[in-house]
């Protein structure tokens, strides 16, 4: 189970902007540690964002997304009390879901 994400969602003029910071090493598999051993690839592969039960974004990622990834997108709608949830899965089978409630 990964570390918690930071999700901010702000609704203005009928549109909701979502910003997500995820805690993940995003190792490419090409980096060597201090002993000179290759650090195995470890990166998020799929991200899904939902607004209440509707999918509002899906992303497929390689290892070239930066460490501790940042993602910003926006969708139509959003009302106070609505849930915005973000879920990721990585190549080592780890996953994480966090959510925020619109104000």
């Amino acid at each position: 189970m990964g570390n918690p994400m930071r999700i901010r969602a702000v609704t203005a003029d009928g549109n909701t902007t979502v910003k997500v910071l995820m805690s993940h090493p995003m190792e490419t598999g090409l980096r060597k540690d201090s002993e000179g051993n290759l650090v195995p690839a470890h990166h998020i592969t799929t991200v899904t964002a939902t607004h209440n039960d509707k999918t509002v974004l899906t992303a497929e990622w390689g290892a070239a997304v930066s460490q501790n990834p940042f993602l910003e997108f926006s969708f139509a709608g959003g009302a106070p009390g609505d849930k915005v949830s973000v879920h990721w899965v990585d190549n080592q089978g780890d996953s994480r879901t966090d959510e925020t409630v619109l104000k």
Binding site: N3, E27, D33, K103
Partner: protein
């Protein structure tokens, strides 16, 4: 948890750009790069960890750090970082945040911090140390507050003086001191703009931004780390965490920075 609005973000970006031109860095070719980050700083993830650690009941004495006095009374974190380093009567010395946190983990929680004191900073790719996470959280609780590093106690003034001397101390095979790179304004090393740290403007920009998320390392680094890594690049032996020279330098920079608003954790190359 505070929810920042998008207009707040835009304002912050505009302010960051204004600030960079105010410091005479209009020609700073990284201004556009930095502005694109807005205020979305991965350091926030570390702040969260630090907040949990601060509140968590830990150690042989099974208490949280809410019993820890960071200078403004037990458990007071708001504004504490902006007034450190300072003299602590109970410890009988001048301490910066990191030294104080280790002291509290040891005395309040009864934890063995020998290992953490030896290795206060995380290795590349490894999770942040407790000290880094706590520092990020505590520093963030001074956001927007004026830096007010005290010079009341004689030991605080002595620390400032030691820091000032250390700043100019040329040694090692390359004859470097802090002043070699940070004694003039408007200079850069490679493409990196250098702050003049022996006068208020540069010291303010530096002190207010640390701890900071270091992009190169994908991790939050503390002000003690900044001092130690400069010492490494000066070709000096290892700067001991919490040592008189380290606390001295931080006191020196903090006092010069007095009056500036804290804005840490920052975002650095």
């Amino acid at each position: 948890m505070t929810m920042k609005t998008l207009s707040g973000t835009l304002l912050a970006t505009a302010l960051a750009m204004a600030a960079s031109s105010a410091t005479g860095a209009e020609d700073d070719i990284f201004a556009q790069y930095r502005a694109m980050f807005g205020d979305d700083n991965p350091a926030e993830l570390t702040e969260f960890q630090g907040e949990d650690l601060w509140n968590e009941v830990r150690g042989p004495k099974q208490v949280s750090l809410e019993q820890c006095d960071l200078g403004l009374g037990a458990g007071v974190v708001e504004g504490a970082y902006a007034q450190l380093p300072r003299w602590f009567e109970d410890a009988g010395k001048v301490m910066d945040l990191e030294t104080r946190l280790l002291y509290c983990m040891e005395t309040v929680q009864g934890m063995d911090v020998t290992e953490l004191r030896q290795h206060p900073f995380s290795e590349q790719g490894q999770p942040q140390t407790d000290l880094e996470a706590l520092s990020a959280y505590i520093a963030a609780q001074s956001k927007g507050m004026p830096i007010a590093v005290p010079q009341d106690h004689p030991a605080e003034r002595a620390a400032f003086e030691m820091g000032r001397e250390q700043f100019n101390f040329r040694a090692g095979p390359h004859d470097f001191s802090c002043a070699t790179c940070h004694g003039q304004s408007g200079k850069r090393i490679r493409l990196q703009s250098l702050l003049q740290l022996n006068e208020p403007e540069g010291a303010k920009a530096s002190f207010s931004a640390w701890p900071a998320y270091r992009i190169a390392q994908g991790a939050v680094r503390t002000y003690e780390w900044r001092m130690a890594d400069c010492a490494r690049q000066q070709r000096l032996p290892g700067l001991v965490h919490g040592s008189p020279a380290a606390i001295g330098l931080i006191t020196y920079l903090g006092v010069l920075a007095n009056g500036a608003e804290m804005d840490a954790p920052g975002l650095k190359r």
